[in-house]
């Protein structure tokens, strides 16, 4: 059976049904490799424009252009409505206004976009700590074991990221899931906005064959000219050349062309910083104010975090509790451990008083347990005189 992902309830199933058996939604994604792929590219849809529309609900159905108004300005981002008039990023502002005179032009507010970007990255962190940001609005994620912190397959974790960004941030993202970064990035562009596309290993060559060579990473206009001069217009044309021919004609870069043309890319997803913390979190199916619910979930999450620490050869020096209220207020509380640990019980026991202190009747929608101040595993849990 082909695996199917319901975009609404974020569950992966194997049924052939047109609608989700769980929630009845028809927003289903099917792909043979859906359950196996682990590298993702997440791209925010018309990021700056979406953020501005979010903050100005009146403009929801109006064309919006973000960019410095005035003769010499250029379009930074155009919303999807403005794009229908032909407005594109990097277009001179006077030309954009000519095409779409009734568009509202908003100067960019970079500090706001940074804050929103940071928030989105925090949501991604629930899926994996291995995040490579490309810019404020796009990032690669490595959801392979042992990195993945979310429970369940990568596709489900990604669907939840998309859903949580919509609910919490109020903008949409498009996701590409593939065997590597090159294909993941191409996939995220396929179904914008609010997309989720998969390019599997099986169809990679055929899919690439149709694309222009300029779609390859690092192939700029000059290279395109050089390739076209040699009669190479599509990636398919490259596929027909032998590796030795490409190497001979384009040197070291030729080797990269061979790899990309065949859908291969061994670049690792490199986080912008080393792993500084490991965490796991879960959203309750229904908001809860009960300490016992919070503690029961904290216990499960502690087991998951401990498992990650062990697999990564790390130990926690500090335990972090993250709670999100039903009003989406986020709070995080931490406690330094006397000695670093890899043990779920120790993580849980340290988190308990922090949780009990916050459980004052407020309802919570999410709880997370994190390990911070990570140290090598050999410093964890030294033998104890009292044997505990």
């Amino acid at each position: 059976m082909t695996p199917a992902l319901c975009r609404d309830c974020c569950e992966l199933t194997h049924g052939a049904d047109a609608t989700c058996l769980g929630c009845g939604s028809g927003w289903m994604l099917r792909h043979g490799e859906l359950a196996d792929l682990e590298i993702a590219h997440i791209d925010c849809d018309a990021f700056y424009a979406s953020v501005e529309k979010r903050d100005r609900p009146k403009l929801k159905d109006q064309p919006v252009i973000v960019g410095h108004p005035g003769g010499r300005g250029v379009v930074t981002t155009a919303c999807y409505i403005a794009r229908q008039y032909g407005v594109r990023s990097a277009m001179p502002m006077f030309k954009a206004i000519e095409l779409c005179p009734r568009a509202t032009v908003i100067p960019p507010d970079m500090s706001k976009y940074k804050r929103v970007s940071h928030h989105i990255r925090e949501i991604m962190r629930a899926a994996t700590p291995v995040i490579e940001p490309v810019s404020l609005d796009e990032a690669y994620l490595d959801l392979s074991e042992p990195h993945r912190t979310a429970a369940g397959p990568p596709a489900e974790a990604l669907a939840r990221v998309a859903r949580d960004v919509e609910i919490e941030v109020g903008i949409t993202v498009s996701i590409g899931l593939a065997p590597n970064k090159f294909l993941a990035k191409l996939a995220s562009e396929l179904d914008k906005p609010r997309g989720f596309s998969v390019i599997g290993q099986a169809e990679a060559r055929a899919f690439l064959a149709r694309l222009a060579v300029g779609k390859i990473n690092g192939v700029g206009p000059a290279m395109v000219q050089r390739l076209e001069a040699g009669g190479i217009r599509t990636i398919g044309d490259l596929q027909h050349l032998s590796p030795s021919e490409l190497l001979g004609r384009f040197g070291k870069f030729g080797r990269r062309l061979v790899h990309y043309a065949n859908g291969d890319d061994d670049r690792a997803v490199t986080p912008d910083r080393p792993t500084k913390s490991i965490s796991a979190e879960d959203t309750f199916s229904r908001d809860t104010a009960k300490v016992s619910d919070l503690l029961a979930e904290a216990k499960r999450l502690s087991v998951r975090v401990a498992g990650h620490l062990v697999r990564n050869g790390l130990a926690a020096g500090t335990v972090v509790v993250k709670l999100k209220t039903s009003q989406f207020a986020l709070l995080s509380r931490h406690r330094r451990l006397a000695v670093p640990t890899q043990k779920a019980e120790v993580l849980f026991e340290a988190s308990r008083p922090l949780i009990e202190k916050e459980a004052d009747g407020r309802a919570f929608r999410l709880i997370g347990i994190g390990a911070d101040r990570l140290v090598p595993a050999d410093e964890a849990d030294p033998p104890d005189l009292f044997g505990s």
């Binding site: 451990l337 340290a350 008083p353 030294p382 033998p383 005189l385 009292f386």
Partner: protein, 372 residues
């Protein structure tokens, strides 16, 4: 309330009292010190609800009364006033404000009503003994480094003070442990101490008492019940709640049959540990001790930072042994030992090791080895 007081008297009293007052509290009056003036003297009281300190000093009181003032603010002001000057505290006006005057400087400080100041309530203290300040300080000083900071094991967050019999004599013993090391310090039990319940004195109280007794040579009157302990000197009374918990059966973990004995020069050993531990990035890294006849080789390996070894002569004639210890724990213990020679009583790489001062039967340390 109106009084005149010498600056150094006021400053010393406030230093003692303010140190128990938390800098950040949720209850405003807990940030305050209670100032109470009576015939010829004034007392200052601070509390964090777990413990309270009252210090009484002579003052020229022209009008008795009481007022409470932000402790750290008052302390900071007095710190900046010239030594040797005379300070007037005037709490007239219904206790809403205190006016402090010193020479040409004048401060108006907001006050809170004295009758709302909390009292932790000493209750009845059926046990009482006197102990010279330097002896009590020694018990505390040599044991406190081993107190656990792990709040989940709250019953280890203090010093277990109790009486027992050691070598046929009644002793007053202080024990502290964090599960990785243990310190046991004792001395002949003072009169009246026998029969007292074993109590766990919280870490902060221990540290405050240690500070209060610095440089003092008077006798301290210690009174206690199962819930409270009180330390009283001529000027200062400190009352503290005790940790409500059961201290584990520590005697069980003190090894009895360790027969591999190593004698090593204390300073030489500590310096070598400190040197080889330099290559470890984390303070908690293990130092490996390879011990053979008359020779000890210390080594540390840090995968990212290289390695270090150092050999020092020792007095040892048992079987060769390799054992690892936390470098910091070794240095902590070495820092408490007073004689030139340290004695290690070892068994094997996985079992607790006892460390003693060669000339001091009253101090004993136990160390759990690390995996190396």
């Amino acid at each position: 309330m109106r009084l005149l007081i010498e600056r150094s008297e006021l400053f010393r009293a406030l230093s003692h009292v303010a140190s128990v007052v938390e800098r950040r509290t949720t209850i405003p009056i807990l940030s305050n010190v209670l100032v109470r003036a009576d015939d010829g003297h004034v007392s200052f009281k601070g509390t964090d609800l777990e413990r309270e300190v009252i210090e009484t000093v002579p003052a020229d009181v022209t009008q008795s009364g009481a007022v409470t003032i932000q402790a750290h603010l008052l302390h900071d002001i007095v710190r900046k006033l010239a030594d040797g000057s005379q300070i007037t505290l005037d709490g007239a006006g219904g206790g809403e404000r205190l006016t402090l005057t010193c020479g040409h400087a004048k401060f108006q400080l907001p006050a809170l009503a004295a009758d709302e100041f909390p009292d932790i309530g000493a209750g009845e203290m059926p046990h009482e003994f006197e102990i010279p300040a330097h002896e009590l300080r020694r018990l505390i000083e040599k044991a406190r480094f081993a107190i656990s900071t792990e709040e989940t094991r709250y019953y280890l967050n203090g010093i277990y003070l109790h009486t027992t019999v050691s070598a046929g004599k009644p002793v007053l013993r202080a024990v502290a442990t964090d599960g990785h090391r243990l310190a046991q310090i004792e001395q002949l039990a003072p009169n009246g101490a026998e029969g007292m319940p074993g109590v766990i004195v919280p870490r902060k109280t221990v540290n405050e008492v240690h500070k209060l007794l610095e440089g003092s040579d008077e006798d301290v009157r210690v009174s206690l019940s199962a819930q409270r302990i009180q330390f009283k000197t001529e000027k200062v009374t400190m009352t503290s709640k005790l940790i409500d918990g059961t201290f584990p059966d520590y005697q069980r973990v003190i090894p009895q049959g360790n027969n591999k004995i190593m004698n090593v020069g204390n300073a030489e050993f500590a310096n070598a540990v400190d040197r080889v531990a330099t290559v470890s990035t984390e303070r908690g890294r293990a130092v490996k001790l390879a011990i053979e006849r008359d020779k000890l080789i210390l080594s540390v390996t840090n995968p990212d930072g290289g390695s270090a070894t150092e050999e020092i002569p020792v007095d040892y004639d048992a079987d060769r042994l390799e054992i690892g210890f936390n470098a910091r724990y070794l240095l902590d213990i070495a820092g408490q030992l007073e004689s030139p020679t340290v004695r290690f009583f070892l068994s094997d790489a996985g079992s607790p090791t006892t460390v003693r001062d060669e000339g001091d039967e009253n101090a004993l340390y136990v160390l759990m080895p690390m995996r190396v």
